[in-house]
């Protein structure tokens, strides 16, 4: 409902004033599958990422060489070798071209390829974040659906209260509290550490379960609230009444008709929350002592290891963009097959 009322307003204003341009843009968006939108976003966010490093008034060549060896001539030579004396846009373009080929440069200090350091640690955060999303869809979806069906009942009121309470705490605080409750007091789950899935599915899941749960609660609350609102609206629609009159089983009406039409806004929320889930994964790493991206980002930021920081930000933005493209594709699929999102 909310999503539609905005886009509708959007289109109305643009359409009334400039129908020709809108039609051209619509065709463009249709042809390139949204390339007109996606390409500027990718370039803008990567450029912002890159220029952040260039903004830094540190002198990388001098940093690398160390105080004694940093004679002006040596600095100039290294600047030249690193391409730091070229205009920012040229540097950016070279960096991006290399990045597309998987080369993010090397750390100033350890000389380890940035892509290698990231590839080592990304699976930790991705497994936490993805499990968190799965948990959030499951917890939030169930809670929102039941609350909408039993509207006004005790479960509905309970979901509303719990959802408001959960969103007042940052994920890392929830994580700390979970550690206190389940690991320190009850010894149900390990309090810290990480084992890769190659060491066995059970140990892997038990190590990432608490961090994922901590990250998923706020998202679950958002999903539950959004899904409840749109599902309540959808369940009042004539076509639901019609389906009931035709004698379709309630379960089928709920899953085939109502949920499909109500899921859109909740899905959008998922796309919105994903960057925060990733960021939360970094904090969860600190709480649960996991060897993830945060353990790479924080020291690199402190030592001004710019290539590492730039590479990390690039990878994270790409992950966020990809997740949102998936969200978008799913939304479009829902629109096409389901008719509309409770609009």
């Amino acid at each position: 409902m909310t999503a539609i009322s905005l886009t509708r307003g959007d289109a109305g204003a643009a359409g009334a004033a400039r129908p020709r341009r809108r039609r051209g843009r619509a065709a463009l968006a249709a042809i390139g599958g949204g390339l007109a939108v996606l390409v500027p976003i990718v370039f803008l966010s990567t450029f912002i990422t890159y220029s952040l490093g260039a903004l830094s008034n540190s002198n990388p060549a001098a940093t690398i060489l160390g105080q004694d060896a940093a004679t002006p001539a040596a600095v100039a030579r290294l600047d030249n070798a690193l391409g730091l004396n070229q205009p920012l846009v040229v540097q950016y373009w070279n960096w991006l071209a290399q990045a597309v080929h998987g080369n993010l440069g090397r750390s100033y200090f350890t000389q380890i390829p940035v892509s290698q350091s990231i590839a080592q640690r990304l699976p930790v955060d991705l497994s936490i974040a993805i499990l968190a999303l799965i948990l959030a869809v499951f917890i939030g979806g169930t809670a929102g659906t039941v609350a909408a069906i039993r509207r006004g009942g005790w479960f509905d009121r309970g979901v509303t209260i719990v959802a408001s309470a959960v969103t007042t705490l940052p994920a890392f605080v929830v994580g700390i509290l979970l550690v206190v409750l389940f690991a320190v007091s009850a010894h149900v789950f390990p309090a810290n550490g990480y084992v890769p899935p190659s060491a066995g599915l059970g140990p892997w899941l038990s190590h990432i379960f608490l961090p994922s749960l901590a990250l998923s609660l706020a998202v679950s609350a958002d999903i539950a609230r959004q899904l409840r609102t749109s599902l309540v609206q959808v369940l009042e629609q004539n076509y639901i009444v019609g389906a009931r009159v035709r004698g379709l089983p309630y379960r089928r009406i709920l899953f085939r008709h109502a949920l499909r039409n109500a899921a859109g806004p909740a899905l959008v929320i998922l796309g919105y929350d994903f960057p925060q889930v990733l960021a939360g994964a970094v904090a969860a790493e600190a709480v649960f002592s996991l060897p993830g991206l945060g353990q790479l980002l924080l020291p690199s930021a402190q030592t001004r290891d710019i290539p590492v920081v730039q590479g990390l930000l690039l990878v994270i933005s790409v992950v966020v963009i990809v997740v949102n493209l998936v969200v978008n594709a799913t939304l479009n699929w829902l629109y096409r097959t389901g008719g509309g999102v409770g609009a």
Partner: protein, 309 residues
Amino acid sequence: MRARSRVTGRNGPGSVLRLPSARIAVGVLVAIAFLAVFGSALAPQNPLAINSDALFQGPGSHHLLGTDYLGRDVLSRLMAGTRLSVLTALEAVGIGLVLGAIPGVATVFMGSSVDFAVNRVSDALMTLPYIFFAVAVTAALGNGLPQAMIPVGILLAPPFFRVTRAATLEHARAQYVEAAELLGASRLHVVRVHVLRKVLPNIAVTTATITAAALLAVSFLTFLSIGVQPPTPTWGGILSSDLAYLAQDPWAPFIPAALIAVTVGALNALADAFRDRAHAGRLVIADPIIRTDLSLEGADGDRQPQAAA
């Protein structure tokens, strides 16, 4: 005249206070603001004073909320830590408000190419997680919480932008605006009298929500000890040292956690109250970050829900 005052009485910002939840929320926020201003002066003990005879004490008459791993008074540290946490959160919100709300109103009146361009910038900013950026900026600009909150503010601008733009669009093409323009009203007059006043409730809702988000971001950054040197007390920093000594005092994190939760909860309750009163709720949008379906913008105007079967 009488009718008008009744209308403002129902919808004006003051009427928000009639809701009990809003009154409690405002009370909590006033108390937090008071702590932010006078907290370090009113702290019962020196928040930095180390006392090796009184480590990990529970709540008692001398230390109302107990002591930490260096024997420092937790209550005093929380009170003294409020200012930095609140001020830096407000800094980010201020940046986001200015960078988001002004373009949100302006782009509506500036033609479709400007609108398209600013929208793409806003979309791009939304793909950048602000915590990561805050950490990265400390690499570029030096380690300081005020510096770290600049990118947080910039990356919090898109929500302001989207909400303001959506609300402005709705009012800018209302019939009374058209009438005013026909009567010769200047664009500035239209914006000031007809648009800004009606967009303000939506901005208020967003400001409350975003302030909550900024506070969470501050506690997050200080928890990662970004931008603060160790003895300086902050909400997140207290949590971080509590975490390190969970074995000695497992219940210590609950105190700073409760302070954060109460503050954020009050901001959320205030946002809800604004939303109820201003009927602005439907403009707090859930629009995808990346809108590849711009082609649908024109098409979905008359889309009705249909049964899948």
